[in-house]
């Protein structure tokens, strides 16, 4: 790491980028179930209408900004399978770049080039990123990259206005981007450097991204109405992500769904209180770690989680593990479990019981929780001059 200079760094990044692109291109011809059953028919519908009103006429279960992207892709003379994947791949590079830039903020000296290169490689070569964009034509990289952009702008660069605008774009693409919000709110409360009024940029960003739909004939409330329509669409505690609800899949959602959401809220509340009370001096690697933990908490405890929704934590945790050796095995375990989950769901791999996958995920999550919250609590006790009784 000491020997990586700025010049070497650019060459390394270029090499990693080329390799990452090749890995994804290998999967380009693959047509996933989601592409065959949804994306391809949606693209045909948009093409058939042929003008911007196609966006507002869309009746599927994605939000308007992504449908706008699909519409504009129909104007290109490229098969939809490749163009859809190319968009996701571009955002793969954005999220890799952002995490690399964040990692480079950890050190001031020349070590930062090595850290940046490693973080870049960890994201770009992450098998989940390769599968999601290159093979499955999913859009997890889009909302994750925009969410990480908001993290970078708010926490690293301390530009809250732009950061909140980016966050608005992220949740406009997909509501799951809200998983980055807890760390942003904790940062806001802790640092006291920017106003909550900056969050007014969020609805502005959502409306800007919904402009194609609005021009096409939808109302100004189209984004909100689409969210409300999507929110209650899958009323199940367990929805194929191996989290704690795997063991309670028979429990009725109408009784325990709200309890699940409030359990998650209280867990994040405990973290926020510990964070503020600990009196610890936080560095950039701590924020990355806590962002990974809060995102993973949402996926592990909230109901109705799809197998892709832990994507943000799956990108953040390996980068966090660069700075904390104790997280390396959990990060590896998390990636392997998620790859198996995706593989058996979409690539016809030999299935492993969801209970086994969930057990693995829970062990990783509990270890990560004990590590994060235990560390904060020990810091609190040290700063308060307390000893164990």
């Amino acid at each position: 790491m000491d020997k990586i200079t700025k010049k070497n760094f650019r060459a390394i990044i270029a090499t990693i980028s080329a390799a990452g692109l090749i890995l994804r291109f290998i999967g380009f011809p693959f047509e996933s179930v989601d592409y065959e059953q949804c994306l391809s028919s949606w693209t045909e519908q948009l093409k058939a209408i042929g003008n911007i009103s196609a966006v507002s006429a869309f009746a599927g279960d994605y939000n308007y900004p992504y449908i706008s992207i699909l519409y504009f892709l129909t104007l290109l003379p490229i098969p939809s399978l490749y163009s859809i994947k190319m968009v996701s791949v571009l955002f793969d590079f954005l999220e890799a770049g952002l995490l690399s830039a964040t990692a480079m903020h950890v050190a001031e000296d020349d070590r930062r080039y090595g850290l940046g290169a490693i973080a870049y490689a960890l994201v770009l070569f992450n098998p989940l990123a390769v599968l999601n964009s290159g093979y499955l034509a999913q859009c997890e990289s889009i909302w994750t990259a925009l969410g990480l952009l908001s993290f970078y702008l708010v926490i690293v660069k301390e530009k809250p206005g732009w950061g909140m605008f980016a966050f608005g774009m992220a949740i406009a693409m997909k509501l799951q981007a809200v998983f980055i919000l807890p760390i942003l709110l904790v940062f806001y409360f802790y640092k006291k450097k920017f106003s909550i009024l900056h969050m007014l940029w969020i609805p502005v960003a959502i409306e800007v991204l919904c402009l194609p739909a609005i021009i096409g004939g939808s109302g100004w409330d189209s984004a909100i109405s689409q969210y409300l329509h999507l929110l209650g669409e899958y009323p199940f505690l367990f929805y194929y992500y191996p989290n704690i609800w795997t063991f309670f899949r028979e429990a009725p959602y109408y009784v325990f769904g709200t309890a699940a959401i409030l359990f998650t809220f209280v867990t994040l509340l405990l973290f926020a209180v510990l964070f503020i009370k600990s009196g610890k001096k936080f560095y950039m690697q701590n924020y990355v770690q806590y962002a990974a933990w809060t995102a993973m908490t949402c996926t592990m405890l909230l109901p109705c989680m799809h197998e892709r929704y832990n994507y943000m934590a799956e990108m953040l945790l390996p980068v966090s593990a660069i700075f904390d050796k104790k997280l390396r095995i959990p990060a590896l375990a998390l990636i392997l479990i998620s790859v198996q989950c995706i593989g058996q769901q979409f690539l016809a791999w030999a299935p492993v019981s969801y209970y086994a996958l969930a057990a693995g995920n829970i062990i990783v999550y509990f270890y990560f929780t004990a590590h994060c919250l235990g560390g904060l609590y020990r810091e609190y006790r040290k700063n308060e001059g307390m000893t164990a009784c």
Partner: protein
């Protein structure tokens, strides 16, 4: 940042733990309202006083008493469990305070974790069991004992064991862990005396239920031998072990958790989370 905003944040930060307690209490009450109307398939078996029933006589007297309240009996039992949940949480906070007076954060966190324990939530308001009320009485006795009061804690623990017979083990554990505070003869006489009074009361409590004293005595240990739903003996050793884990799950979680926090045992937080989760899964496997 606006001046008003900063003042508000500073105010919240200064009183953060109080705000947390109020918020958590309100949310805990709110989530307990939701499963009031939902029941497990086997809920009737815990109320119907079938042969070899494992619920205590005091429990059935309570069920009869709540018939006079203007709500469904099962809802009354569930709200009693909610009182038990909150009482247990408050007593946990006070017991932690006893050992960690300056550590307000730990006290409030224990309160929060108690109220939002999935074990507590599932066993009480979802499953209509009043284990938490019995645990509350036990913890009240524990707290008063630490204030050097002796008779009232005995009564509290007696009521706890009468309401939920498996609490007897925890009473004996409590006395054993405090045997150095008393003379050896006092310790053994106290234990035997407690057991005798408990057995007599178990028998007497069955009389208003139009059952015999001996049936009451038999009922006091029925939970060790019979399935609570079918009234049959356990088919295999594994069935017995699982049922004991279910029966002892909530008191074990609360009391074990308290010991972990108060004495800072060399058990990791990871292990505590995992054990708690396993008990929750066991409950879930019975309920859903």
């Amino acid at each position: 940042m606006l001046k008003t905003e900063r003042k508000l944040i500073d105010f919240i930060e200064k009183h953060m733990l109080i705000f947390q307690m109020f918020l958590v209490s309100a949310l805990a009450l709110y989530i307990r309202r939701i499963p009031i109307w939902w029941n497990t398939d086997d809920v009737a078996a815990y109320f119907d006083f079938h042969e070899n029933c494992t619920q205590s006589g005091l429990y059935y007297l309570l069920v009869r008493a709540v018939q006079y309240l203007p709500m469904l009996p099962v809802h009354s039992i569930k709200w009693i469990s909610v009182i038990g949940d909150f009482g247990t949480a408050v007593l946990c906070l006070l017991l932690v305070q006893g050992k960690n007076r300056d550590n307000r954060l730990l006290q409030v966190f224990c309160y929060t974790l108690c109220l939002f324990s999935p074990v507590m939530f599932l066993r009480g308001v979802a499953w209509a069991q009043i284990d938490s009320f019995a645990v509350m009485l036990f913890l009240l006795g524990w707290l008063l004992w630490e204030k050097n009061i002796r008779i009232v804690p005995g009564v509290c623990m007696l009521l706890s064991a009468l309401l939920y017979p498996c609490m007897l083990f925890f009473v004996f554990w409590f006395l054993w862990s405090r045997r150095e505070e008393m003379k050896e003869s006092t310790f053994w006489i106290g234990n035997l005396g407690f057991l005798s009074v408990w057995l007599i009361l178990c028998g007497l409590v069955f009389l208003p239920l139009e059952k015999s004293f001996s049936e009451g005595l038999k009922n006091s240990l029925a939970w060790l031998t019979y399935d609570p739903v079918t009234g049959q003996s356990f088919a295999t050793g594994l069935d017995w072990v699982l049922e004991m884990l279910v029966t002892l799950g909530l008191p074990g979680s609360v009391i074990g958790g308290l010991e972990f926090v108060r004495r800072q045992r060399k058990v990791s937080a990871f292990a505590v989370l995992l054990v708690h989760f396993l008990i929750t899964v066991l409950f879930g496997s019975r309920m859903f």
